[in-house]
Each structure stands twice: as C-alpha cells, then as structure tokens.
Subunit: 834 residues, 2 copies
C-alpha cells in the first residue's frame, strides 16, 4: 500500500486550493494550478511514451505523470512503445533517432537536454531528449518546472546543459545516525551503526537532487569511520546506491586514509607502500562488485586531527593519486579536500595565518594530480564564514581540476534557525575575477575548466539534510539547496532569478507571495551579516563549539587560527604583504593590491585584511566602532521586520508551513537581539568608545532576572559575560519549581512583555507568568537548541502582548525545570504596547 | 497542566492569521481581530471586576478575559473587589446597587441583561448586569459576540431578555455510550454504562449552550434506562451537574415511567397508586440531595413501545402531575412529550392517521396539567420531516405550558452529512399564525405564554452532540444549534440575521466569507427538500431504519403511520375533513380551510393534505410528476454547486475546516444524485409517466458494474431496486480482492470518471483503478456511513478527474474487501472532461 501514498495525495488535491504541507516535497510540490491557468496547457498530449527501459527513464516517466497529475489534474497515458498519437516522448538522442531517423535535433552538451515540439509520423509530439538518460530526466524536471511556474510550453525549443561535470553534495552523516553540523534530525542513511531499514527518504532525496541536476552524493562524514568500506558493510552501501540510482545520483563515501592500518591489518598507511596501494585496490574492486556505478571517495586528511600523508613525508598528491588510480579503472572520482591546515597554530606569532594554508600546501602540487582527482576547496580561505574573500587557491591550481565547497547547511550563517539565503554571496564568489595570469579568470569559469583548459571540476555542497519532514528544519533553508543546484547547472543565473524560481515552485505564483518572499530572501544574507560579524571580521560566534551564538573571544588565543585580533585599541587581522601575514600576496597582483591597500580594500572585507583602530573612519565617514553598533541595531530591526512581512502572506501560504516559518522568524528576531547586545557590549567595553546614540548597555525597559525577588532560583554568571543581559541569569535546581517576582513601578497602562529564557538541548522546562496571581501566559521550552548550558546559544524570547499593568503590580515568573534544563531566565522586558 | 491548554492556544494566536481549527470552539473562537479593527476597542478598560463570588460569575469573568485575550491580544486585569479605575463590571443588579446605590439601571427581564457605559466613583465603567447571575454570564457572551463581529461597543446601552423560560436541549445518549440518532461519535456523558471519567467535553458543551442562552439539558435517551435514577448512579449524575453548573445549565434526565415496577420492586407503576407516588417521591428527594439545582424529568410514555399510563387507564396528565408534584417541591420541571401515537396502525384503513394522535390525545387534557409540566411537542404532527405543517396541538393546549421540540441533529434532514440549515424552516413554524379563538396566535407567542396567558413554555432541541471534535460531524451543522439558541432567546430574529451572525463568529467577518456561507446556508433547506421529498410528501427515506437514504416504499404498508399513499395513479395522504382522515379539522377554521382546499393549499404541503393523480397540475402549471423530476434534478445541481461556492473561500477559512467541509459537500453532491435517481426512477416506474426531458433512467455515460467483466466479484440485487443504478451492484467475497473490467468504446480524449461504491459502517475496503494496467487512483472506503449493507444509505461517489482514454482501453477496478464491507460497486460514470 505504501507506494501509493504519494499518488493519493496528489489525486486528492484539486485546482488552486491550499493544503497543509510538511515541506517534504520542497520545490517539487506539483500543486494544482488554478483552472484559469490550466487552460494554457489544454493542448498537452494525453500520452507519455518512453523509448527504452531503465531505472532512470522509468523515473522520468513516473515524474512526468506525477507532475501533470498534480498540477493539471490529468493522468497521462503511459505507453511503452512509440505512441500512434500526439504524445510526450522521453528518449535519448540515439533511441529517438532509431525511431525517427530524419529528426533534426540540436547539439546538446553532456547531461543536457532539448525540449521541443516536433512532428513524428504525423503526430505532434513534445520531445524531451538528451545524449544520456540522466539528461532526459533533467529535461522532464525542466519541463515540469516550466508548468509549475505557469510558463508557456507552446513552441518550445530549448536546449540546456550543465556548466560543469561535478555537481555533488556531501552529507556529514555518522554511522550512528548523528550528523556533524546537522541541524534537522538524524541521518536519512544510517542508524545504530548500520544503514537504515527504511530508505524511502533517500529515494526522495535523490529525486530532489536530480531535479536540480545534482549527480552525486557522498553520504558520510568527512571525519570518516573506516568501517564504511569493510566487506560486511558493502551490501548495506549497495542498498543506498540502489535508492539513488533511479535518480541518476552516484554514491560516494568519505574514507579514512589510515584505514589500511586501522582496519586492514597493515602496520602502515603510507601511500607509497605497495602493500597499502594493493589493499586499496582490493577495497575498490570489492566496492564496484556491489555498486558498479560507484561514484568515488572523498578524503579529508592532515586536517583537524585526521591522519594524512604528511605522516610519511608524502604529499596530498601522492595520497590522492594512489587512490585515484584504482578508482579510475572503474570510472570513479577522488575528491581531495583542500581544507588542510595546522589547528595548533601559535596565536602569539603575528605572522601565523590559517588563511594561507590551502595555497601554501596545494599550489606547489599543481600539475601533480591525476585527472580523476578533484581538489575540493571551501569558497573562502577560512571556513564558511558569513563574509570571506574568495580562496586564492582557485587561481593557484591551473593544471588541476577543482570544485568549490559551499555550505547549504548554514554552519556559520544561522544553522537554518536564521533565514540566510546565500545566493547573493555565492554569486559574488562565482563571478569574482581572480585575474590570474593577467587575464580574466572568473571563479565559475575556473570551475568549468574554461579558464585554464582543464577537463572541468565543479560544485560540491555540504547539505546535511536529516529526517525532519522538511529536510533542513527551516523550509526557507531549502532555497539554498535549490540555489546550489541551479548555480552548479548554470552559474550565470542571477540570485534574484533563483529566488523567484524557488519561491514560485515552493509557495506558488501569486505576485504578492513571490515579491514578499523573494525580497526577504535576497536581503537576508546581509541582514544576518550585519547583526553578527560585519566588515569581514569573519564571525564573532563560538568557533570552538556551536558556531551559532555570539562569543567574541572564542576567536582569539586558540590554535585554530580563526582570529580577529580584537584588543582595546583596534581589530582585524593584518594579512598584508607589507606588515602582516602576507596572505594578500597569494592573489594575482591586481586583486592582491586591492586588498593590500586600506584605500582600496572594500569596507566589507576591511577587517579580514587589516588591523585598524576602533576610531578608524570607513569610506562612509563613520567610525569603525560606531558602524559596528549601527549595523547591529539596523540588522536586528530588519530581522524583526521579517515577522510582519511574513504575516502579510496569510492565506497565501498553507498553514503548516506558514506557522512553522513564522516560529523560526520569531526566534531569529529574538536571537538577533541577543547577538546585537553581546557584540555591542563587548566592543563598547573593550574599546571604551561609547555608542553615540547611547543604546548599548542602556535597557530602561528591562528587569534583570538576577535582580528580581527569587524563591528557589539562584543567580548564575553567564560565560562570556556579554552573552547575558547584565552578565548574569538565574537557574532553578529545585525540581518542584522556582519563582522570580518583580514589582512593577511604572505608569498604569497596556504593556507587552518579553521573557528571555534559556532553551537547552535537553529537557522541556515549563514557564508560567502571573500578574497579581492572575494567570497570564504559559509555555514550554521545547525548541531543543543545540546548547547544553544557558548562554547566547540557548537564549530565547517569549513575547506576551497586551498585559494590563499598574504601579505596584506583582509580576511573577514560575519556572519548573526538566532534566538538565533548569528553567533559566535572563531578563524580562516591559514595553508600552503600540 | 491540562487546564492551561486552551489559554495557550489563544496566546499563540495573533492578529488576523488563519490557523487550523478542529471546530471544537464552534462560534466561540475569539479569533484574533486584525490590527486595524482592534483600534476600535482601544478604549476598552484594562480591568474586569466581579462583584460577588459564584461558579457562574467566575465563568463570566474567565470568559471575559479569554475573549478579550483571544480577539484583542490583551490580558484584562482580574479584580476581586471594586476597581478604582476604569473597568468592566460584572454584577447582578442587587450587588451593583450595593456599591453604586444611585445608579439608574433599566428594567431587565428574567435571565436578561443590560450592557451599558456608566460613571462609577469617577471612573467610566462598562457594566454587564442582570437580575440573576445567569443573565450576567449571558451578557458577557453578548458583549464578546459584539466584539467578535466587530461591532461598535462605544455608547453601549442595550437590554436583552429571553422570549421564554424554557430553553433546553435533549441528548438521546444511552448509558453504554451510544447515542440514538447520534451521528458524531460516542456520548460525551456516558461510556460502559457509567458516566465518563473525563467530563471536559461536558463543561465545554455547557459553555456553548450558555453562550446562546440555553439553561437546561436532559442528558439521556428518552427511551430511558431506569438505572439512571438509582441510588448508586446519583453520584455520577452529580458529577455531570457539577460540570454544567458554572454555565448555568440545569441537568435533566429522561425517566422510564415503569421504573417503580422495573427497578422499584413494586408490582405496578400505576400513577394513581400511592405506593408508586411514594416511590417517586423518594427518588426525587434522593436526586435533590445530590443535585440541589436539578432541572427535572423528561418523559416519553405510551409511545413506540414505551410503557405508559394507558396501561392502567390513566391519562398523560395523571402520570405527569404525579411526578410534577414531587419535582415542584424542589423547583423542578416535568417535560411530558406529546409524541404519543399508536405504532401499530392498520395501514389499510384510509381513516387512520398518525398525524391526528397528539391532538386527539392531549387536547382533551388541556387545563389538567400542573403548572410545572411542560408538554413537549415536535414541530410537526409526524416526526421531524423536511416539510410538515405546524402541529395543531399548539393551538389545542391553551391552558397548558408547551414547548416546541426541534431536531438540531437533522434526523430526517441529512444527519449532518448534508448541509441543511433549518432556520428558514423553524422561522416558518414560529411565525405561523394558528389563528386560534379567532385571534392572531403565532406559535412563538404561544410558546412565550403570550397568546393564551400561560406562564410560558419554550424551546427544546434534540441535539445529540458526540465526542467528535466538532460536536456534530459537520462544522456547518453547528449553525442549527446556534440558531436554535438564538431563536429560543429571540424568535423575532430573521433567518438571514442568524446565518450572518453565526458565520461571522464561526468563520470571520470577511465580506466574501459571510456572503458565500450565508447564501449556502439559507438555500440549503429547500435544496435538501427538493432532492428528497418535495410537495409535503414528507420524506421518501427509509423510515424503518436509517432515516437517511431514499426508500420510497418504506413509508407504505407499515404500522408506523408514516405514509404517503403513493400508487400507480397518484400520491398523497388525504387528510381533509371532507374525504380523508379529518386531520385538517384539528386546525382553527381559517387554517384548516386553507389546507382543506386544493385551490388554497400551498404546493409545498399539497401531498401532506391531499391525494392527487400524477398528472395533477400545480399552481405553476406543471404536472405533479414532472415537478418531482424537475426539482430532483435542480436540487442535485444546486448541491453540486456548493462545491465551487465553498472552494471560492480558499485562504478565507482555515485549512482544517476548509477540507473537512469540502469533503462533506462532495459526499452530499454525490448522495443527492443517488436520491434523485432513486426517487425519479421509482415514480417513473410506478406512474408510467415519462420524464419530458428523458433524463430519468437514461444514463448514457454510465457503465453498470454488473455489466463489467467480473473476476471474483458477483452481481447482487440491491433492495429496493431503485436505490442502485440498474437495480444491481457487485460484491466481492474474496478476501484477496476482485476485479471488474470494462473496455472503453468511445472517442479518444480526456475524461472524468465517477466510481459509485458502497461505504458501510464496518470495514475499510480498498479500491484501485487502472487503465491498461497503469495505476490511476486508489482510495479507502472509510467514511463509516451508518449502513450495514450496500444500498442508497452507503452509496458514495469517487470522482477521478482528467483520465486519458481512447477506444479499446481497459478500465479495471480492483476491490479488496475488509470485514463485512465487500468492496461493493454500483457503476462507473465516464464524462468528457470540461
């Protein structure tokens, strides 16, 4: 029965009516079109014919039927032979020619497709064709996307092909079912150290990937468990490959380079040792016996504690090529990550600079990598920060195939609890001209192989979808996965075109919906940057742990090299050649010179390249420190505005997603304020320069929890101090619960009240609010934020509107702890109702 | 924690945003008003003060806070003493005067209220006051209803009071948890022969009743289990009374008049026997010890097999007064139902007429009933039919208090699976002038006690809410409960005002919503009547069983006296004095004369009073038989139109109720067609007069299931024949499933397909449809209709839109039976797609 479930849903749906959606269908909803729009497709043939028989072609056919049924309410007739009537024809170019030899088909790039109306044997047919089956499937998705966006399909004559061969996603899933930097539930692949019994979500994921042209997926953490390639595990891996195969998605795995020693019984994993390469040869052969179309390996080595070739004095090229040779015999690829750096850097040495590592290590190896090796490079020289310059190694590998690694999972950009649409950022990166060799070398052209004449690399995203129905926790987060696929296919697309396309597919084509959501998406990256870490300071987050909330000093005095060098006088990493680490010298001269000079470096990367005093004046004329204050207040205000923008879509978006997204946006607005206050207070204290507008540290509407009359609650210091209002919070270790009381002393009237409380990853504390004993509000802290202790990672806002208060009123918060979550509070805010 | 749940929901809700609703809150949703509307209530005081302390006043206060919180997002301050600020004051007139002795308060009728703005001790207060606490509660509901409907509350000066003292509901719940003629799940009061442990739904029901001024509820089936008044049961009854008490709803129970014999150990239940009255005296005393405000008894006796005083040659008055005397000592009421008739009438005697029974039996007793006896009279002389004249006994009891009994549960009007808003009908009844004693005596004035100078009776509705979240299965069915309460309070309200009021409260105040739903409601009774039993033929339903689907002959040749006298020549009960049963003579002369004459009898009651040939010409000029055909086709068409009307409210109604109501409307449209075909075919056959438009019996787009190529399925005759297309269906007794195949022989194109299948009350059969083996649709028959066998009560329509068919296609239905439900089919319809 199971397999019919999705069909049933589609059949129930009818023209133009909203229905609660989990988000699981993401942008492939095939929501019913309005009757008035359906007329546009009245001439669509009633049959779909597939020439040939394969898993991928069958997917293409099923998708075609599913899409038309959902959107137009019609069930296409499925034909296994060439229909003798007007039909939609799905076929590779070769098989199409075997039936209609005289058909003129335009040239189509590999994995591309052609959509066109042609007359075959006297019947007008709509042809979807490609040199390969994968391209036919992509063509079907392209055709259905046109219908979903209500575009015309008459007189169709369209050729598309992807910009680069590598269009891949990585999942950092562990075999125990957890996901490193995964924010949306457990793994869809693994649980309890095995592959899951139910792989239906894997198949659905494959469908989503295929719909935007992604053709491969590495399914396990780059910090790999060697067991994944052991004999006993291979039948399980094969099951995942089987689930992906109908969608043309090749399976990849991350491997541990030390496996020959760890699980192979050898006393070495030296890539130059013949016993080691022989061991790998056998592994690769075993894998291909189970998975004939296996995609390849991803390698993280000599990085963050992972063992690597350096242990034997070998280079990444030695290790990569040893593996690549074996894979090449079967058509496999080796991804070698350029994220290699010393994580025990001495922070006291001002010349040390983690940003230099990739170039320093990989540039000398250019030309030494085999042709089925892809060097996988994070977009910036550090690590997925909200703003970094393009990694210079893209210009430093001219005889090597390279792929850019992009963070769909928003590791440092809000972790899907904050809206942060990364396309504008990624477009900056892909369109950036590194000007290598004195010529124009845009990053996207380097990746495509055009700039330096390689056979082309491409695009890898770290996605980390989980078992949550909507894949990424935040339905809006899926715009980054969609956009990644679209850019990998065609990096010339504009960010606003992608936003428009995704919104239409995900939320429908009403103009108000499209404009509102597109506008929110397109501003969201800069909004996020402005209330977190502006001016290229990278991030002010807790880089040692969560990567989520603020923690300015976490990025100082550590071995990880993620530094901003903030002190009482100024801030920024001097990465100039003249006086700093010399990093800017890794760029071709025109680019390096731009960054080297304080006059020409763009404000938004100022602190990445230069250390300047807080009183330094930006191009805007504003001082650096005032700019930091101002953008944090502005960004927080803009995050607050998302709420009303979203609310305006009442009745335009189904309720389930409407409320879920509203909840995320409300959290974000509250959390932006936590960020704002932490960063502003920190820098006001360290710089000694006060906010000209006197906002920072002045919260006349707040009552600190630690200053209330406490019963059971105890005051606790929050670390770092700036992460809590007043540096402190309160904590209830009494299982029956505690109370905090405040006697209101302002004028009588209507007020709104904020309760800032701590929602940890364990426990579901209960909170109640009473005024003069009268029950006012109650909630449960069940958002399960990743934090294990009270602080900025767990700080959450409850807003209670419209409370009648008068002088002398007793406001009482009751907190009942649960497990390790101690019903913690930071402050209450009391604001006159608007 | 439980008790906060509803508050939490309200607090989450915010201005003007749709959220899925179960319908449990019915018209008391207190949905957030739009910000622009909220401004209108900005001056609402911030405090609510209650003078006095009682369960009912506390309900009033809590409701005031809840309503304002929900709609305006403000939490009123709750004060226990007289506030020294502007406040909303809830108080009885007496307690208000004790605080503000000089306040001028208008005269207010019993249980009425006054809303007004007054200055008390220098503060402008909004006063809700009444002679009694119940009236204060009603006033709060009245005030909140005004806000919910976005009416102004400035300069408020409004007095309201109810039209009649008796405003009561009956529930026909059995102690085992079933409900006789209950269509919405099990009892909220009983399960397993005891009162339910969880009475939260009882409390919520009390709140709904109070909100429309209903002050009593008889909780058990009129076919009563004597155990309900036994000692051991009384503590349980008291728990129900406790749940109702805060809402001012008095508890009543139905009793079995033979209890002294059945459970009392006496050898008689003769009301004239002193041992019997002594036994009842003790019972009544015992009840009042547990429930000091007990409401009273409801009695069904000498009716449909229930024992009664006739067994001892005593009259209803003898029985009623014996009980009433005991109740009167404690303030109780006795409801004696006038639904007394011989259910073993000889149908062969043309003078026999059940319609006469109430008048024949009760008119002679007028003046003999004690003053705390209410004679409870069904609105018409038969039994809740879709169209009946007003029962003449209302004019025949001039010294007796009477109450009208109305069927909120839609026993004969679609049982909440069909939309049928009964206010237009009930208004006809209440506004009907019986012209007794040569004067104007409108039914509503008789009930109020005005016409004949009694102390007033009132209104009783049979409601039969169940544990389904939305109370009556169909969210729209609740309009009948609301309307009942509003008419009992004020019978001068117009049906369209009630529809408007209910719609605004239940679905919001958008003009489009209000107009669309009001329009659907207001036409729905006549639509239902037209596709079931028009012209006063009463009903053509299965009166012996379901009272739901068509069964023309069920109303003939039975002892129940529910006859229409249809034969090959004509149809109708001759109830004239001149040639018939003489029933029309029970009305005062002007009314009786109107009905007596074929010239003056209204068409819509023609067949109730007269037997006429099929070729009889109506006032419209149309023949009777053609009228029957035409209105069935028109009514079915109008039921079909509801679907698009409702669909137009996409985004205006929350999704949960939107889809549930759409499902009910789709069922109704399909079932209307079943009714149409059964009635039209029956009368075409019996009359021999063909439909002038040749529609009846001609279904060129249908394929009979019994004519398909069957594998496993067997043909079965459906009884009566007209209830299935072609008189037959097919049935699958093979547990693995059966198939029925049809080879399509019409032109190629897009088609819509109906599958008419049988959905019984047991089992969930599975159906699949394939075309040439290709999967097209699947569904489960899980609507749990009340029917136990295939026929018109269980016939259901599955509509499959947009199927590509061409000549020679094989259409295959696969049915998999479940338990006693045999995946039955009647026919498939295949229509060119529009």
């Amino acid at each position: 029965m199971k397999r019919y479930v999705c069909l049933i849903c589609l059949l129930c749906a009818t023209a133009g009516v909203l229905r609660a959606e989990t988000g699981q269908d993401a942008w492939l909803r095939y929501a019913p079109l309005k009757n008035s729009v359906r007329a546009k497709y009245a001439s669509l043939p009633a049959a779909v014919g597939v020439i040939g028989n394969s898993a991928v072609l069958n997917s293409a056919r099923a998708e075609m039927i599913r899409g038309v049924r959902g959107m137009l309410g019609r069930t296409l007739r499925s034909e296994n032979e060439f229909p003798r009537e007007s039909a939609i024809i799905l076929a590779t170019v070769d098989s199409l020619k075997s039936i209609a030899p005289n058909l003129i088909i335009p040239e189509i790039g590999k994995e591309g497709f052609w959509l066109g109306g042609v007359n075959i044997r006297g019947n007008l047919c709509l042809v979807v064709t490609s040199p390969d089956e994968r391209g036919v499937l992509y063509g079907v998705f392209g055709l259905l996307s046109r219908i979903a966006r209500e575009e015309d399909i008459k007189l169709l004559h369209e050729t598309q092909f992807p910009s680069a061969p590598i269009r891949w996603v990585d999942q950092w899933d562990n075999l125990n079912g957890t996901i490193e930097r995964g924010y949306s539930g457990p793994s869809i692949f693994f649980e309890n150290d095995n592959v899951r019994a139910d792989l239906s979500r894997v198949s659905e994921y494959g469908r989503l990937l295929a719909s935007v042209g992604i053709n491969g997926c590495t399914i396990n953490n780059v910090n790999a468990n060697p067991r994944v390639i052991q004999d006993e595990f291979l039948p399980q891996l094969a099951r995942i490959a089987n689930a992906f195969r109908p969608w043309g998605v090749r399976l990849g795995v991350s491997i541990d380079l030390s496996s020959p020693q760890k699980i192979g019984g050898l006393d070495t994993f030296d890539p130059a040792d013949p016993r080691v390469s022989e061991w790998w040869k056998k592994r690769v052969e075993a894998i291909y016996r189970y998975i004939p179309d296996f995609g390849g390996f991803t390698v993280k080595a000599d990085s963050e504690g992972r063992l690597g070739p350096s242990q034997y004095g070998r280079t990444p090229a030695d290790a990569a090529n040893m593996l690549a040779r074996e894979l090449r015999l079967h058509g496999g690829i080796l991804f070698y990550r350029a994220f290699v750096y010393d994580h025990n850097l001495d922070w006291r040495n001002p010349k040390n600079d983690r940003a230099r590592a990739a170039y320093d290590i990989f540039h000398p190896l250019d030309g030494k990598f085999d042709d089925n090796v892809i060097i996988q490079i994070k977009h910036g020289p550090i690590d997925f920060q909200a703003r970094e310059p393009v990694s210079p190694i893209f210009g430093g590998l001219q005889k090597t195939r390279t792929a850019v690694e992009l963070p769909v999972m928003q590791e440092y950009t809000g972790q899907q609890r904050h809206l942060c649409f990364l396309m504008p950022y990624w477009k900056n990166i892909l369109d950036f001209d590194l000007q290598s060799n004195g010529a124009s070398t845009l990053v996207k052209n380097i990746l495509a192989g055009k700039s330096f004449g390689t056979s082309g690399g491409g695009y890898v995203a770290v996605v980390n979808v989980g078992l949550e129905p909507n894949w990424l926790g935040h339905p809006m987060g899926m715009a980054n996965l969609f956009g990644f696929g679209r850019l990998a296919w065609n990096p010339d697309l504009a960010a606003d075109d992608i936003a428009d396309e995704w919104t239409r597919l995900t939320f429908g084509t009403e103009q108000k919906t499209v404009l509102t959501i597109s506008n929110m998406l397109l501003r969201s990256w800069e909004v996020y940057e402005s209330y977190t870490g502006p001016l290229g300071a990278q991030t002010f987050t807790d880089i040692l742990g969560s990567h989520f909330g603020p923690n300015v000093e976490a990025s100082e005095r550590n071995g990880w090299g993620q530094w901003h060098r903030a002190d009482q006088n100024g801030i920024g990493m001097d990465r100039t050649v003249a006086t700093g680490t010399g990093f800017s010298g890794q760029y071709a001269l025109p680019v390096g010179a731009l960054y080297e000079s304080l006059q020409t470096v763009p404000d938004n990367l100022l602190l990445f390249f230069h250390h300047v005093p807080y009183t330094y004046r930006l191009h805007s004329g504003k001082t650096l420190i005032q700019h930091i204050y101002d953008v944090h207040y502005e960004g927080t205000q803009r995050a607050e505005e998302y709420i009303d923008q979203w609310r305006s879509l009442e009745g335009f978006v189904d309720e389930q997603r409407f409320w879920q997204i509203l909840g995320r946006l409300e959290f974000q607005a509250g959390h932006a304020r936590v960020w704002r206050d932490a960063i502003c207070n920190y820098f006001q204290k360290i710089s000694g320069v006060r906010d000209e507008l006197n906002r920072v540290g002045n919260y006349p509407d707040r009552v600190e929890a630690e200053g209330m009359q406490l019963n059971g609650y105890t005051s606790v210091a929050i670390t770092p101090w700036e992460n809590a209002s007043g540096g402190k919070g309160i904590d209830c270790a009494v299982s029956q619960g505690c109370t905090a009381v405040y006697r209101f002393d302002r004028g009588a009237g209507w007020y709104d009240m904020d309760v800032e409380y701590y929602d940890l990853n364990d426990g579901e504390s209960n909170f109640r609010v009473r005024v003069n004993g009268q029950f006012i509000d109650e909630w449960v802290a069940n958002n399960h934020l990743t934090a294990r202790k009270p602080g900025a990672d767990s700080s959450s806002r409850r807003r209670i509107k419209g409370v009648a208060l008068r002088p002398g009123d007793e406001i009482k918060i009751e907190g009942i702890p649960d497990r390790d979550e101690h019903a913690g509070l930071d402050f209450i805010g009391i604001y006159a109702s608007k």
